[in-house]
Structures are given as structure tokens and as C-alpha cells.
């Protein structure tokens, strides 16, 4: 009884104290987000602060860590060289605040709430649900949420998302690039399609169909799907093998299934040309274990130079990238995920926008960011560029088709 009373008393005193503190504090809430002498939050005459919420723990921590390391590497090097010269004549250092959301939408929103009072813009974060979670809030707060890594098209629709822009090609962009290559081959091909039964797989297939539209030489002979939770696709591969198709379009995001598909088709002695999405086409993790050299060609798409590939070992871009990543991004190995390169490019694209900004405001920044065309960011492959002014397209929408050559990928102009 006594203890209970004691607790009750403490609680009541704490509450009353809290209320009186608030009253004394005067409750003056300045919440205008912008306008301290015209400049937006997060920017001064000498610094600009960018916020990132991305998975730094959990299953997606690998790519997530890269999204921070890449942009830190880029701006670390730029700051060391004196800073970034903005369009309004001032030179500013770029600071990055990154928080872990563990791929949890709720945490991403909480991180955004925490950051929005001190950062100029949100950038580089990875994940569709996590970026979606604070999209509407960012719009109503007028906080830019740009060059985020998601294939969700809503981020590129200026009427729905006025303060957003995503960085990477959407799934249909990838499928379409391969479709176009097939269509331009001039020879007849039969295509078998196996796709994941969700918006990921549907996006690829939609792109493929758009790419081969009107091409009489290409015929899709069979379309099958699998569930992301499936542990085997042997049945589907067997069914597709029976069609005798000479091209296999495999829109798959699960690493073990991609390896198993490559192996199963070989067991059945079915050896078509093979297409894999950019995120499941790693030579070391998928193609070697799947013995991909048995096939006449394995194709994928990309827009970034792969530092691991021998073809780029002496490339000056790649060398600078790797040294910046080590020195400023605290990332010591050669990155296993493309997100390190993408995030580094995001840094370069942001710098472009900064040099075009004539006023230190978020609105002016969005205008500057949307005015970049044919910019070749470091690490970009020939044939790709940054175009931010096209509505409903991400900053990088162009990809080039690449073919596996036994050790890495090389860009190809023609199919076959």
C-alpha cells in the first residue's frame, strides 16, 4: 500500500512539474520549416546538411551501408578539396547525417521526423516501403526526398510527388532495354518468361513487352510465375524447357533460385540465352555457382562501372572511387553491392544541382535538380547519362545491356 502511494505521488509530481515547465517555457513553437532570412532549414553560408535513413542493420544492411558510404566518400573528397561551390557564389561544406531504419517503414518515418528539423534534404536512402513511409510527410513539409534508391514509379511522377525523385532505373526500364536489344537482332527468337509474382516481376515483364512491341521476329511462347517464398522453381523450368525457347527471360530477385534455375536448365539440356535482372546477376555470387558459361550468353543490364571487373581495373574513375570510399566512406573492401557506386553518383548529381542553385532554398534546389540533362556522373558506363527533366522517369533511366564473358560483363550492341 505504502509503496503504491509513493509511486502515485511521484507520478503526480512529475506530471505537474512537466506541465508547469511547459507553461513557463511559454509554448512558443516556431514551426515554419523555412525562412531564417530566406534560407531553408539545413543550409548556412558555409554548410549544407543532408539526411539519410537507410537500413544499416538487418537483412538489407549490406546494400544499405553502401548507400551511406558512397555519398560520404564523394562529399568527403569534395569537402577535403575545399567544399562545393554553389550557384549563389558561396562555397559550402556538405555534411551527412545518416540513421538506421532496419528496413522498417515505421522507423524510417521516425528517422525522418528526427532529421527534418536539421537537414536541407533527404537523399540516397534505400527501400520502397521505407521511402514510401515518409513520402507524404515530406511533401507536406516541403522537404526534398531526392535520389532515393527505389524502383517505385510514384517517386518520379511530379504531379503526385513534387518533392521527390528517385535515382535508379525502374524495373520496366531494365526489361525494356533487353526487349529492344532482342527486337533489333533481326532474327526470329522464341522467349520463355519466368517472373516473380509481384510488382517486381510484373515490372520486368511489362518492360520486356514494351521493348518488343511491334517486332514480328520475337514471340513470347510461355509465361510462368513463382512466389517469392518458393524454395524451388524446378517445375516451372521443366515446363519452360519443353517449349524449346531459345531465350529465357528470368525476372527473379532471389539469389538461390536464380542459381538453381541456371543449374536445372542445364540438367535438362536446355541451353537458351539467358536474361537476369541487375540485382541478381553478380558473376561471383550467381553466375559461377550456376555454371553460366554453359549458356550461349547470359545478359543483364547496368549503368555503373563494376570495380570488381578486370575491364575497369585501371579506370581512373574506379581508382578514385575506391580510394575515396576507403578514405572518407570508411568502407575498406571493393564493394560487393552496386549501391556504393549509385550513392557515389548521387553525390555527383547533387553537386550538379548545388552549382545551379541560385538561392539557398529547397524550392530553388528542386528546380535546379530537375534541370540536369545529359550529365555523365563518375562511374557511369558509356551510353548512359543523367536526365532529371523527364517526368515519370528516374534520374538515371538509361541502362545498357551487358553480356557475361566468363569473368565479368561487357557492354553489347547486338544480340547473339
Amino acid at each position: 500500500m505504502k509503496l503504491k502511494d509513493y509511486q502515485r505521488l511521484t507520478g503526480a509530481i512529475a506530471l505537474i512539474a512537466a506541465v508547469s515547465t511547459m507553461t513557463v517555457a511559454g509554448c512558443g513553437r516556431g514551426r515554419d520549416g523555412a525562412s531564417h532570412g530566406g534560407a531553408s532549414t539545413g543550409i548556412t553560408d558555409s554548410t549544407i546538411t543532408l539526411g539519410i535513413t537507410t537500413p544499416l542493420s538487418g537483412a538489407t544492411a549490406g546494400p544499405g551501408t553502401c548507400t551511406v558510404a558512397g555519398i560520404k566518400a564523394y562529399f568527403g573528397a569534395a569537402n577535403a578539396a575545399g567544399g562545393v561551390k554553389f550557384g549563389d557564389g558561396k562555397t559550402r561544406k556538405v555534411e551527412i547525417k545518416s540513421l538506421d531504419d532496419a528496413y522498417d517503414p515505421q522507423k524510417a518515418k521516425a528517422n525522418y521526423d528526427q532529421l527534418k528539423g536539421s537537414v536541407f534534404a533527404m537523399t540516397a536512402g534505400l527501400g520502397t516501403p521505407t521511402n514510401r513511409a515518409y513520402r507524404t510527410a515530406a511533401i507536406s513539409d516541403k522537404v526534398p526526398q531526392v535520389l532515393v534508391m527505389t524502383g517505385d514509379p510514384i517517386f518520379n511522377d511530379t504531379s503526385q510527388s513534387p518533392y521527390q525523385l528517385s535515382l535508379v532505373p525502374a524495373y520496366p526500364n531494365e526489361g525494356e532495354a533487353f526487349g529492344k536489344l532482342l527486337a533489333s537482332s533481326g532474327t526470329a527468337h522464341k522467349v520463355a518468361v519466368l517472373s516473380q509474382n509481384d510488382d517486381y516481376g510484373q515490372g520486368y515483364v511489362e518492360g520486356l513487352k514494351k521493348g518488343i512491341e511491334g517486332a514480328s521476329n520475337i514471340k513470347i511462347v510461355k509465361e510462368l510465375t513463382y512466389e517469392a517464398t518458393d524454395t524451388s522453381v524446378d517445375a516451372q523450368i521443366t515446363e519452360l524447357a519443353a517449349t524449346g525457347a531459345d531465350v529465357m527471360f528470368n525476372a527473379m530477385s532471389i539469389t538461390p533460385l536464380a542459381i538453381a534455375s541456371l543449374q536445372k536448365a542445364q540438367q535438362l539440356n536446355w541451353k537458351p540465352s539467358w536474361f537476369l535482372p541487375s540485382n541478381t546477376s553478380s558473376p561471383a555470387a550467381i553466375l559461377k555457382p550456376g555454371n553460366a558459361s554453359a549458356y550461349p550468353g547470359v545478359y543483364s543490364v547496368s549503368f555503373a562501372k563494376a570495380p570488381a571487373s578486370p575491364a575497369f581495373a585501371n579506370d581512373p574513375d574506379v581508382k578514385k572511387f575506391l580510394s575515396d570510399l576507403k578514405q572518407y566512406g570508411s568502407y575498406n573492401e571493393t564493394p560487393a553491392f552496386p549501391h556504393c557506386m549509385w550513392s557515389y553518383m548521387a553525390g555527383a548529381i547533387l553537386e550538379q544541382a548545388f552549382t545551379k542553385m541560385t538561392e539557398p532554398t529547397r524550392d530553388n534546389f528542386m528546380k535546379a535538380l530537375r534541370g540536369i540533362s545529359d550529365f555523365k556522373a563518375p562511374l557511369m558506363l558509356d551510353g548512359t547519362s543523367v536526365n532529371t527533366s523527364v517526368d515519370k522517369q528516374p534520374a538515371v533511366s538509361a541502362v545498357v545491356v551487358q553480356k557475361y564473358n566468363g569473368t565479368g560483363y561487357a557492354t553489347v550492341e547486338n544480340f547473339g
Binding site: 503526480a12 538487418g58 517503414p105 518515418k109 521516425a110 520502397t128 514510401r132
Partner: protein, 359 residues
């Protein structure tokens, strides 16, 4: 420990304190800055979820790993209703009833099983829930999820959105806390406690363990639905990620850390769920999981009864340091024997009754 005994037992004093506390709580949203309000609202959301888990697990002793599923269903129902222009009252009721009905159906099967089998069955809920939410994309928006800003502050209120949302959480969450407090302190609470400590004894006293397990599970899923409604009101977005199993495990950890079988412990659990990741992010964003793990172990080692036992532990320490006060010592060392409703609130293990199983 100077206090005048009796003062706080007087009805008018208690009533006055309650009134002041309610006024203080209602003043909170007006006084804090936006970020604090948003954090308090989030704490409210997960405190309700932990409270639901506490009903089935803390009070009734049935391990449930499926609580996040009911939160997710509540959130999806709310999002669906709000985007289709349903009346907000209908949305609230639906977001409570639908998870409740699902919970009842699951419980009818699950409660027939004993011990860890219930844990296994409830474990399946989030595992089934995530692909299901992706699959039913006509209702759930698929893996891209659903957004709904239905909880923006209405014009007439003159409030900011974060203040309005915190009021929604305070009113709805407060009502749930009050109802649950009454539930677990009354005859149902006593029945839950006996089912928890020994089912055979419960049955011999005319309390059907099966019926009370089903009841506790259903109440937990109803409360999960409320939490889902509040989740949508505060986060304004839900996706299959919301239902992922990892969050269910974190909810369970939060319940243990806050204090099992305790109303205040549920609040503290909610605070842990929301604040621990933020604290870890503050220290080092690259090692959040590690830091949270360390925090979990620290609490379990130092305060096995959860954060809610902290004042008790401190009071005991203080008393021990004083040489006199034999009466006090006697009272504290006897723990909290079964003393009616008080025992249900304060003693998670019902030490007065011998337990049949080593739980």
C-alpha cells in the same frame, strides 16, 4: 520515506490526483515540440500493442509471437477504410473487430494446444501475413503498401497535425488502457492468473482454461487491432514490412523489458520499442542491433522484473540501507502474496500458488 499514511487512501485526494493527472496529460500535446509529440504518439501506438500482448502472455501465460499480425491487420483495415472514404467511426470499429474475429478463429484452434505449440502456431501468423499482404494487392496495395493521411488535424481544432494525432492516441489508447486495467484487475484477471500458474488448479476451481485462453487471445487481437488503427493514424503508411516477424519478436522483448503482467510496464515497453532504436542511432547508426541487444541483456540481468520493477528495487535498496524499520523490512521481504486484485497487478508469478509446470 516520510509520508503521512492515510492521506492517499482518502477518496477525494485520489480523485483530485487523478483529475490533475488527466489534465496534465491532456495538456501535453500543446506544450511539446513537434518531434516530441510524434515520438509520444509512436510510444502510445506500441504501448497499446504491448498491452495486448501482455493480456495473453503476461497475464495468461500463453506465448504469442503473432501480435504484430493483428497490429498489421488493423492498420490495413484502417488504411483501406480511410482511402475508401468510410466514416472514421466505422473504420475504428472495423479495425478492431476484423483482427478480433481472426484472433478468435485462431485462438479456437490454438488454445487447444498446450505450451509452446501455441507459440509455434502464432509464429506462423506473421510468416503467412507478409506474403498474403503482398498477394492481396487489390486491398493492400501489394509490396508498395498503402498511405493514408486521414488523421490530419481538422480545421476547426486549430491544432497542428502532430498535436491532433497525439490526442487521438491519448483518447483511444487511454480508453483501451483503462478498459484493460479493469479487465485484468477484476474476476477475469484473477482467472487469467490461475490459468497462467496452473491449468489443473484452474479447472478444479471451475475455471475453464480453454475458454479463458481463447478470451485472452481474442482480447489481445482486439487490442492489436486498436494499435493498428493508431499505427495508421500516426505513421500514415503500412506495407507488408509492417507485419514482419522481427517486429513481433521486438514487441515480445519490449513487453519483458517494460514489465510482464503490468499496465505501467506496457507503457514502458512501448517506450522501449520506440526509443531504443533512436537511442542506438544516436550512439552509432552502424551498430544499432548490437546496442539494442546489449540494452536488452542489461535490463534482463539488472531488472528481471522489467523496468516497472525499478521503483520497487530502489525502495528495497533504500530500506535495506536503513538499520531500523523492521516492519517495513518484513513487508518487502514477503513479496506480494496473493492479495486479491493487488496481487494480480504487482506479482507476475503468483508466488502464493504452487506451479505445476516449470515455466
Amino acid at each position: 520515506m516520510f509520508r503521512s499514511p492515510g492521506l492517499f487512501s482518502r477518496a477525494w485526494v485520489r480523485r483530485a490526483i487523478t483529475a490533475i493527472a488527466v489534465i496534465a496529460v491532456l495538456a501535453v500535446p500543446l506544450g511539446f515540440d513537434e518531434y516530441t509529440n510524434q515520438n509520444l504518439a509512436r510510444i502510445g501506438v506500441f504501448a497499446v500493442a504491448v498491452l495486448g500482448l501482455n493480456v495473453v502472455m503476461g497475464y495468461t501465460g500463453q506465448v504469442s509471437l503473432g501480435q504484430i499480425f493483428f497490429v498489421g491487420v488493423g492498420a490495413y483495415v484502417t488504411a483501406y477504410g480511410a482511402t475508401h472514404g468510410w466514416n472514421i467511426g466505422v473504420v475504428l470499429v472495423a479495425s478492431i473487430l476484423i483482427p478480433g474475429v481472426i484472433g478468435l478463429l485462431v485462438a479456437l484452434a490454438a488454445a487447444r494446444l498446450g505450451g509452446l505449440a501455441i507459440a509455434m502456431l502464432t509464429l506462423a501468423l506473421p510468416i503467412v501475413g507478409v506474403p498474403l499482404a503482398k498477394r492481396l494487392s487489390d486491398y493492400t496495395g501489394g509490396s508498395q503498401g498503402l498511405s493514408s493521411a486521414f488523421s490530419s488535424a481538422p480545421e476547426w481544432s486549430g491544432l497542428y497535425n502532430d498535436q491532433w494525432q497525439l490526442y487521438v492516441v491519448l483518447v483511444v489508447g487511454g480508453a483501451v488502457f483503462l478498459l484493460t486495467r479493469n479487465l485484468v484487475r477484476g474476476k477475469y484477471g484473477r482467472a487469467f492468473a490461475i490459468v497462467k500458474s496452473n491449468e489443473a488448479v484452474a479447472a478444479s476451481m471451475g475455471i475453464s482454461p480453454y475458454r479463458y485462453k481463447v478470451l485472452a487471445f481474442t482480447v489481445a487481437s482486439l487490442i492489436g487491432g486498436v494499435s493498428g488503427f493508431l499505427y495508421m493514424a500516426v505513421v500514415q503508411f503500412t506495407s507488408p514490412e509492417t507485419l514482419s516477424l522481427g517486429h513481433s519478436v521486438t514487441l515480445l522483448a519490449s513487453m519483458v523489458i517494460g514489465g510482464s503482467a503490468s499496465i505501467v510496464g506496457s507503457l514502458l515497453g512501448g517506450a522501449y520499442y520506440v526509443l531504443a532504436p533512436q537511442l542506438a542511432n544516436h550512439v552509432d547508426p552502424n551498430t544499432t542491433e548490437l546496442l539494442q541487444g546489449a540494452l536488452l541483456l542489461l535490463v534482463l540481468f539488472l531488472l528481471p522484473g522489467g523496468l516497472v520493477s525499478l521503483p520497487r528495487v530502489i525502495a528495497r535498496k533504500l530500506r535495506r540501507n536503513r538499520p531500523t524499520g523492521g516492519a517495513d523490512r518484513q513487508q518487502s521481504s514477503s513479496g506480494a502474496p496473493a492479495r486479491g486484485r493487488k496481487a494480480v497487478e504487482e506479482a507476475p508469478t503468483m508466488s502464493g500458488i504452487p506451479t505445476g509446470r516449470p515455466e
